[in-house]
Symmetry: C2
Subunit: 330 residues, 2 copies
């Protein structure tokens, strides 16, 4: 089947670019040095590819992601890198034989983990991003509280998310070091083997964490693409030109098929004007006609993928495989 036959909009993944991205990252962070984050692709078929590249443990952002990963046979060592106040569904996974570790940063989340039947936790530490995570100096106390609740504390995590899109390499490396100094201090108080941190933006800078939680590197987006990492743009949204005027044209890819929090998408050879629910208006350098196909490059991979039911792995215009985006919802 060829992409001309697809109903648009449709999510495309360029196979050769995906393969190169997976191999580049696995060479830099082999085996347990990488704990791929599935939130960026929400696709167990792609996770199976990462598993085949030697990465046994995975990072999840939602309980649903954990459940679907387990159902796909990928539950050997899942980290839910997020706080939950009701861990009963995770407890069910653990009782059924999966290994699920959950992040905790408060008495309430420790109590929820213990009550829900989860056995292992990481202490989530705020390393500079004002989001979840306890103050570093409180991590040891929380670890003690978790252990008294009967939980195994595997170590710490601390996501330096505020540094992911810092473009200057020296600035990014220095700031990552500062953030990880906080995490290492907490790790010394907490104990355990794991220091889990990082992402695609800091995968090469963060030499302190024992494992990196990168996800975007596999598919990529224009925001990460602008930073200069050795990962190519594998993801695009295929659209059909539905209207063409002398000044502009309209492709049927819009707010309902693109994550917009990082701004407008890009169209090679064109200037993007704006997006509406089902449309992107753009000014092409060369004239286009109604019926032409256009590939739109999302600014942010994670909230783009979640809008689609499936992704098509392509070799140019040929569809090689079609994968379900099977970890959507909560």
């Amino acid at each position: 089947m060829r992409i001309d036959e697809l109903t648009t909009p449709a999510l495309l993944v360029e196979q050769a670019v995906l393969d190169a991205n997976l191999d580049t990252m696995s060479a830099a962070l082999p085996g347990p040095r990488l704990r791929p984050h599935v939130k960026a692709h929400k696709c167990t078929a792609l996770a199976h590819r990462q598993r085949a590249n030697g990465h046994v443990g995975f990072t999840c952002a939602t309980i649903r992601e954990c459940e679907v990963m387990v159902a796909a046979g990928l539950g050997e060592d899942l980290l839910l890198a997020n706080e939950v106040l009701d861990a009963r569904r995770l407890g069910t996974l653990v009782r059924d034989g999966a290994r699920v570790t959950v992040a905790v940063d408060s008495a309430e989340t420790i109590a929820a983990a213990a009550a829900g039947g989860v056995r292992e936790v990481l202490i989530d530490v705020n390393v500079g991003l004002p989001r979840c995570g306890c103050p570093p100096e409180r991590a040891g106390d929380l670890a003690g509280e978790a252990r008294r609740s009967g939980l195994e504390v595997r170590g710490v995590m601390g996501y330096e998310g505020h540094l992911m899109l810092v473009a200057d390499p020296a600035d990014r490396a220095r700031s990552t070091g500062d953030a990880m100094a906080l995490l290492l201090a907490a790790a010394a108080d907490v104990g355990g083997a794991l220091i889990s941190a990082g992402g695609t933006g800091t995968y090469a800078d963060n030499t302190w964490a024992t494992e990196i939680q990168a996800g975007s590197y596999a598919l990529m987006d224009t925001a990460y693409g602008a930073v200069g990492h050795p990962f190519g743009q594998a993801l695009s949204v295929l659209g059909t030109v539905v209207s063409a005027a002398p000044t502009h044209a309209v492709v049927n890819v819009g707010l309902k098929s693109l994550g917009m929090d990082h701004g407008l998408p890009a169209i090679p050879g064109a200037q993007v004007w704006f997006c509406s629910d089902e449309h992107t208006t753009f000014a092409p350098e060369e004239p286009v006609r109604a019926g032409d196909r256009v590939r739109v490059l999302p600014a942010h991979v994670d909230p783009t993928v979640v809008l689609h039911e499936r992704m098509h792995v392509v070799d140019g215009d040929r569809i090689v495989e079609t994968w379900g985006v099977d970890m959507r919802g909560w």
Copy 2:
């Protein structure tokens, strides 16, 4: 069932506010004066409510929306207010007894409509929003071309989308009049009974169109709420506080449960700092604890709803009904 029992994030619709919104609009634009746009809610249960209020015709943005509306028994008079280059699925609906009219603005879209088995079209006219739609002076020629292709031309449509969020009433009314002057000129050249235009933002100003394509009024969002129309905020996303620090708290409602193209959501009694994939970080006026429930108000209704599998109609904390968001995808 009460909302405390819901897995979060969860889409809530306040029943009394929805009812008031539906009734207010139906009083202003009774029966065929309103052709509700389903793209804003993508929910046939809600469309049935609009039908019960006297609106027989509906506006759709995608072929999938048309198909699901027909399957739900709501295919009496559907307008696909969008251009398509492959109308075969619409032709199937027409052959099976539904009435489906599609927008055309070019020789290519007319040819696609005729080839696909659609029998009725509207000529889509650009009235100032640089998106789809032919120049007004070209509408008559396209109508002739459509008729020569065997299509029935029911009239014109022209969406003044660039005026929807104009806050000054006099400015908005004057600009709407200017846009509709273009559409009326095209209508005179095209013939047919329908002049379809408008939206929630101009529903009261646009006295020239024979029918208004409003959709957002039913559920509403903070962007429309700021303009001052008589529609209340029925929609919210229920979340759980997963982390609370002295300076800020985090609720599990983020980029994957909120449309972000109109900017940050609002949380009553709090200042919103930023959103991440599964989180919104905010500074509450009164302290919150992990486990508290928070209602987050989206800035844009359409791309928010599409991220959810269902919406819960609530009376305060009590769940009255649960409706599927059953028109997602393409």
